[in-house]
């Protein structure tokens, strides 16, 4: 089996990708490209933080990494590094840079739950606000939204998605292929609901007597069931 050169986790509403600090650059970036292409749905539109540790990355290497992400519709929003060379490269490319040791507090506009990559159990991210149009949130774990998900907002999780509010936007649970993932909402009328590789849209028209519902996959189909 190929050695894992890449670790991915959800942070804020983007993704943090830690790259091996010792393996050959070409090998690492090839594997990163392969991982993204394999799960394009999960990565779609995410803003990416790259953790490079102590590896000195010259400008041309960082620029090719940036291009690699941009070709796939991802933006490189931050580089974390402990190397002076890497930091200079990032500055030259006008990419935000952060010292890998001392991670600054995230900006107040984006609340975040700490995600522990060491934890092998399940973890999740809680968003305690309504997600409005244009907002996308990602997690490698589960996502709980205490608020509504409005049309035009996107929630993408490798695990389950629980919406304690009205679901009217786009949700994708089990985005890395987990068919056992579920989506729960107090008012389930998503513009599109995906679980792993399956997809449903809401029937048009107004619904009466709204009940909390759960969506899950059974026999290769998404079933939506009321929970009263």
């Amino acid at each position: 089996m190929q050695e894992e050169l890449i670790a991915i986790k959800g942070v804020n509403d983007g993704l943090l990708i830690a790259l091996s600090t010792t393996e050959k650059w070409q090998l690492v970036t090839d594997q990163l490209a392969a991982r993204i292409d394999e799960k394009a749905d999960f990565f779609a539109g995410a803003s990416i933080t790259i953790q490079l540790g102590t590896r000195p990355v010259p400008k041309y290497e960082l620029s090719s990494l940036k291009a690699l992400l941009e070709r796939r519709g991802l933006s490189l929003s931050l580089v974390q590094s402990e190397s002076e060379t890497t930091r200079k490269s990032a500055t030259a490319l006008q990419v935000a840079i952060e010292n890998g040791n001392a991670r600054e507090a995230p900006s107040p506009a984006q609340e975040t739950a700490p995600v522990n990559p060491e934890e092998t159990g399940t973890y999740g991210t809680l968003f305690r606000r309504t997600l409005r149009s244009g907002r996308t949130i990602h997690s490698e774990g589960h996502i709980v939204v205490y608020g509504d998900v409005n049309p035009g907002a996107k929630v993408i999780a490798a695990g389950d998605i629980v919406i304690w509010g009205k679901l009217r936007g786009y949700v994708h649970a089990g985005a890395l292929g987990d068919e056992s993932a579920v989506v729960c909402a107090l008012d389930m009328s998503p513009s599109q609901l995906r679980i792993a590789g399956h997809l449903v849209t809401s029937p048009p028209g107004r619904r009466k007597g709204v009940l909390p519902e759960v969506a899950y996959v059974r026999d290769d189909q998404i079933i939506v069931e009321a929970r009263d």
Binding site: T130, S133, G134, R135, N150, P151, G152
Partner: protein, 265 residues
């Protein structure tokens, strides 16, 4: 008390931001408040036309920011109201010629001598919107009862929240009560349900608005206009007064019933 900066925004274009700004300016002035309205839509100025002040423009917002004119020189007094001034947008420049910090500085200078500073935000979510948002104490979001306008209002609301400018209040413009009744138009309840915002005004569709805008005499000055009355109510609510919402569907319903009776007969 220092003046309050109120920004009028929408995201989507053509929903009635400028009309709302002009009418609120007039209404507040007629309530005796000292008001300045600022057109932040640099490059596409309109507010001066709707207020009927186009031919009095000498200096504009960019002239003030770049130091070519004094603030006082650039403020155009309204023909009818002594206590209402307009700072027009520049026609020949673009949004980048003004920064959010410039707008904060400008409005801070105006706060002492005025009760309300209304900023007409351009459509979109880029620099022009940022300029209009930065100095705001309160944001009014104008939307129409249609899905695309509500979607953009939602997007704008997210940005307003992220900038910590409060949740904003909603002006629902161009509502047609008879279409709502038939289920062909979103109702105010539908819109509130989606956006989760409190509403400061519901403005009914009114043909008088168009002719008023073209003639440069905002519709609030026309006492026959329901839209004008509704804008007046928004202005009173802005001053903190508790004004009940108008009943919008009496009259057309009555006439329609009458018309139907005659037809049937």
């Amino acid at each position: 008390m220092a003046g309050k900066v109120v920004t009028i925004s929408s995201g989507k274009g053509g929903v009635g931001k400028t009309t709302a700004t002009a009418n609120l300016g007039i209404s507040l002035a007629s309530l005796g408040r000292k008001v300045v309205v600022i057109d932040a839509d640099i490059g596409l100025r309109n507010l001066d036309v709707i207020m009927g002040l186009e031919n009095r423009i000498v200096y504009d917002l960019v002239d003030i920011v770049e130091g070519r004119s004094k603030l006082r020189q650039s403020m155009i007094k309204h023909k009818k109201f002594e206590n209402l001034y307009l700072i027009p947008a520049a026609q020949t420049r673009d949004k980048m010629s003004v920064s959010p910090a410039d707008m904060v500085k400008l409005t801070d200078e105006l706060r002492d001598a005025h009760d309300f500073i209304l900023i007409d935000s351009p459509a979109g979510i880029e620099r022009g919107f940022r300029n209009a948002l930065e100095p705001a104490d309160e944001v009014l979001i104008v939307t129409n009862p249609e899905v695309s306008a509500v979607r953009d209002a939602d997007r704008i609301t997210g940005l307003i929240e992220a900038a910590e400018k409060g949740p904003g209040r909603l002006i629902l413009n161009r509502l047609k009560p008879d279409l709502v009744k038939k289920g062909e138009m979103l109702s105010s309840d539908d819109v509130i349900d989606i956006l989760g915002l409190s509403i400061i005004g519901i403005i009914p569709e009114d043909e008088l608005v168009l002719s008023a805008s073209n003639s440069g005499v905002p519709v609030t000055l026309n006492t026959d206009s329901k839209a004008g009355m509704a804008f007046n109510n928004v202005a009173r609510r802005l001053t903190g007064e508790d004004v009940p919402f108008m009943n919008l569907d009496d009259e057309p319903g009555f006439f329609r019933r009458l018309a139907r009776l005659i037809e049937a007969w």
